[in-house]
Symmetry: D2
């Protein structure tokens, strides 16, 4: 693979590389790690990349790689830049004939997302979006429990994503991560819901298959001077009649990355916490609670396929991320070798990206109308 | 004390009696345990009550007790009947000169609640409402942490109260508890929010001292044929600018009585679960999480005063309930003996009852308007 | 009932009273609360006891109560004094025709315990020992799981009882509890194993029905100047071939009262923590873990009979203690009214007391021999 | 690096490869993946290794690699074969001038271990042993807490390692992992203590720096026909006077890989569970418990250096393993480039291997003597 962004020092680039390489199936061989050619080369050197394939811009990279023989060029590009640049970079590579793995949120706004969807469809290429939390084995188990009817009809979904790292105005202290996320020009119309609320929406949709039909949002900017919301609380309604709460927060001091979900069905309920990802609790009205643990034989095939280690040898964030890469890579491998695509590949696609952007815009619209119930904007 | 309601077999009556008698400071000596004189006597017999003081109606009881010499009559009455009867019974005893401990919700509706407040004020008697969850020592510790500024300004409150026992139509199976709670004629305008949402509101207010200024409610009746909501999700705004989520549910299958609260402040945050009441977690942005445990010397005086056992010897529901009784009894004792009332007695009063009823009416109003933000109705 | 010991201020007396009175089936009507007649009367007054029945010594009490008409005298006496006095007091009351509830450890040494057993047997009276931890509903559930073969053959038992309160020489600071427990003249041959190790032994035996056949003990006195061990670690072997670890400690700083047990069987395993008594975890090799929670319909009758509150309304230490009292009281009631004794009354008896004392002596003997495997001394 | 053993399908080989490659600092370039040349080549092909460097035996590999120019040959070999082969393979590579990373237990017996120590010392090469559990960041934090005196003098250590996978005779079902571990010819004198008890001993020693001076062991073989123990319980004494319990079990049904440790000091105590590795609990007698969480700024430099992801983005087994590899690789890199060795490299060495083997032999000796206290055999 090749990479755009993710120069040495950029946290998310290192995560993508570790995730991609975990199974020994993907090798990083080219990159435009920085828009500054020198820094790109420097990063490439540290990563043991052939200097000839360390490019000074993504445009240069797309052109140069496309000129290489098919079996020498990259099979796909991984885009790990801030989200306002995703559209142009994706477009460039897709149109140059490359498959794409792209960090989320997918684009700057919904309009871009829809355009990108059209481009992807036209290209016939694989486009994967790294909604990494759906890579966890126990999330896949949760999805199977719903799919196979173990929960019965879903009645209620509570999904939370509290973080505390933006409780102070880090963006004024030269903290890059904070700076672009709170800047409407780079992050778009939303900070908290865009950055992490979309993970919550994606997680609920991945597990249950349900879509939000309307929602009612309360956005707050707690830190003075900040231009976008740092806390968003939503009442939501799903297309099967289920109701729910979805919230994301970046000012919940002392919370780290506490994404969690509870799903209540007519027959059973479940509960999963990202910070303890190896366990999934299933609750019943009339029998003991069960704790399902990763790696065991009693789990679904989907959960087992997403696991590398035996029970009790905990897996975590990197492995979940790697599952997205591995699933995407297997589809990409088929594309590159002209094979028929898999029927139900298990990774987030451009469709998920459009859904996510539509969710953000709906929430922003509702929040602006002072939490009036707002019909979901079409994805 | 005397008791109205709570005949043998009624769960809540037994809880009140156990809580009242735990410290050996309160003795049950009279009762109108049933509106059927025979059954009242039968219950009284099992409770070792003098048959002469087992009455066939609360009216009879109030009159008869009032005729006894002051040092022989009951000091207060405990009312454990369904809530649509609370007003009349309370009024009767207050006007007959008795102090009152009353189960919650306080009355049938807000109008009644306000009238009762006037009657209490005029009577000069003690009126205690058994919002029992505020009796837990670690809830008192939480309150002290807020009061003494350990959390800084409160930004966000998430309070949940999921139960699952009404997931099926128990009210059609002769289950009394379910029957009256889902009957608008007995329960009033709300089932779920009235029955348990009020505990959530009370808990948040008790700990933080904050009042809801507006809210946006989504009520659902999941069980077909049921007349009142069995699930209620609210976005709330507090009078200091804090935002929050408050929800209650009776159809969350597999949940038992999972009242819990998280409070996020500028300096620290806290988390408490009623089902593990002996622990209180305090989270910081820049130092390790703390788990405060009941019974330890490092706790506040308020928490220590509410404790009977050393650390590690767990206390639970009955003790918390008993704390409400003990606090009320100490105020009642002063009233009976003509002493000046205590300055800050630590038990829920008629004021809390009015606040609770106002909260219910506000939520119902918002839900009816399809979750429009609704200004809090004055308490 | 009557009480010996437990004057105002003595923690354990208050626990016994609260436990005894919880269900309204037992009333405290007499006592020798102190060996100082004045202090006994003072305590009795605070407890609303008829002054005529507040005695200056247990001998006086036994005689005076025995002179009362049968339906006026106490049905049983509760003994809550330090353990070196248990034998004489028990003997006195048993021989005066009274049933006895006695705090543990039962006697000063094994010889006394065996004598007491003979006295109890001769008397035909009920003798109950308050090994209170076996009163927990989920401990009763654990016992049923073993009894009904759900665990299969038991292979291994790990039972721990760490406390930290004797990490410093409290006995030199006028702390009464610490003083008598660390004094060989009052506590006997062992401090830590005698005081709390016996609870661990009793708990394992109650749940599994297994007896220790030999053990290997390592006793340590960590606090300088202390005369008895404050930490004891044991390897144990049970009569069905099971192996195990049993330890008790009073110098495990930061531990409160963390009695816990894990039992491994051929078919399933279980785990219970006294500090979270409402849950029992069952682990399987080939299916998800189960968490059984107090109060649910799916539990055994034994667990349900020991419960007062619905699921999610936590019960704790006092209720477990009350279960011992209630079970004993029901047997006492039959004795007093000349009815045939119950077949399998569920409370610890003089037999458990003898077993406990034999366990202590075996452990002491092994520790003195420097942890040689030591055959269990006959109970 | 090169690898001996770990052909496709061998679980532990895959773990080593993933751990080694996680940071992009180590590349697998050669291997003798099987003693069957064809299978070795086949494995190498799947791993994208140059066929010329896929060898049919480790001897061939050592010779061939040694003939390559220094900058083309492997820098070190990773040995992931069963333990009875470790000595010969290590010796061969060390004497051929290569650094070694070796799986544990280090050798077949203590005599071999001591010989290997001499060979390592003579060679001047780096020898690392993958006691992977000491790679966890929170284990490193625990070690720092002890080192910096936060716990005060250590009094007691309880370390447990229960697993359940050998509860049935898997070795008779063609399960390779079970077969060699229960075969005295391959595993040596011990199964359970050798395989996992050594991890427990190593963990306790790594964190506290304490050495066992004597121990008293009870070994049991629960599964009929098995030749080595599948459960071992030990009383242990440490060289500072601390006492402890150490046990390992492979027949604790329902346990997965539940290595855990509790350490009690005069000032504070700590508790860590491998299955929830991102948290470390510190308990105090006089202040609230603390939960330290991986990735936070308040942790020691040692814990921070061992971390790749921010707080709340859980890390687990692979990362801990990778920390051993990374630390070893950095020392190896210095060796290869002729730089002075680091002063306190943080990975397990041949010394740890000798200690581990001595521990096993002491435990076996004690168990054979029927748990007589046995002085530690010199390492």
């Amino acid at each position: 693979m090749g990479m755009v962004g993710g120069g040495i020092g950029a946290f998310i680039g290192a995560v993508h590389r570790a995730a991609a390489s975990l199974d020994g199936e993907i090798e990083l061989v080219a990159g435009a790690f920085s828009s500054d050619a020198k820094r790109s080369k420097a990063s490439g050197k540290e990563l043991h990349i052939d200097p000839a394939r360390c490019y000074g811009s993504y445009q240069e990279m797309a052109q140069a790689e496309a000129r290489l023989p098919v079996d020498e060029r990259i099979d796909f590009v991984s885009i790990v830049t801030p989200n306002h640049t995703h559209f142009d970079i994706s477009k460039t590579f897709l149109e140059a004939g490359f498959n794409v793995v792209c960090d989320k949120p997918m684009t700057f706004d919904l309009a871009q997302a829809k355009k990108l969807r059209t481009i992807v469809e036209k290209s016939g290429k694989v486009f994967a979006l790294t909604h990494n939390y759906t890579g966890y084995p126990m999330v896949k188990e949760a999805r199977q429990l719903v799919k196979t009817g173990k929960l019965g009809k879903i009645l209620k979904i509570v999904v939370e994503y509290p973080q505390g790292w933006l409780l102070t105005a880090l963006e004024n202290e030269n903290q890059k991560q904070a700076a672009w996320r709170t800047d409407p020009k780079q992050a778009g119309a939303s900070c908290c819901i865009g950055d992490i609320g979309t993970h919550a929406e994606n997680l609920a949709r991945y597990i249950t298959g349900l879509r939000i039909t309307e929602l009612c949002a309360d956005f707050t900017t707690f830190v003075p001077g900040r231009q976008l919301e740092d806390d968003g609380n939503l009442l939501v309604r799903y297309d099967n009649g289920a109701r729910g709460i979805l919230y994301a927060s970046q000012i919940s001091g002392g919370e780290e990355n506490n994404l969690n979900i509870r799903i209540y069905g007519e027959k059973a309920s479940l509960e999963w916490f990202q910070e303890h990802p190896n366990e999934l609790v299933v609750k019943y009205s009339d029998k003991p609670r069960q704790t399902l643990r990763r790696g065991n034989d009693y789990l679904s095939q989907a959960a087992k396929d997403a696991t590398r280690l035996p029970p009790g040898h905990p897996e975590a964030f990197i492995e979940a991320f790697a599952n997205i890469y591995r699933a995407a890579a297997r589809s990409i491998d088929r594309e590159v070798h002209g094979k028929k695509p898999l029927k139900n590949p298990d990774f987030p696609t451009v469709e998920d990206g459009v859904e996510g952007m539509a969710f953000i815009e709906t929430a922003v619209k509702s929040a602006k109308s002072k939490a009036k119930w707002t019909r979901a904007i079409g994805a």
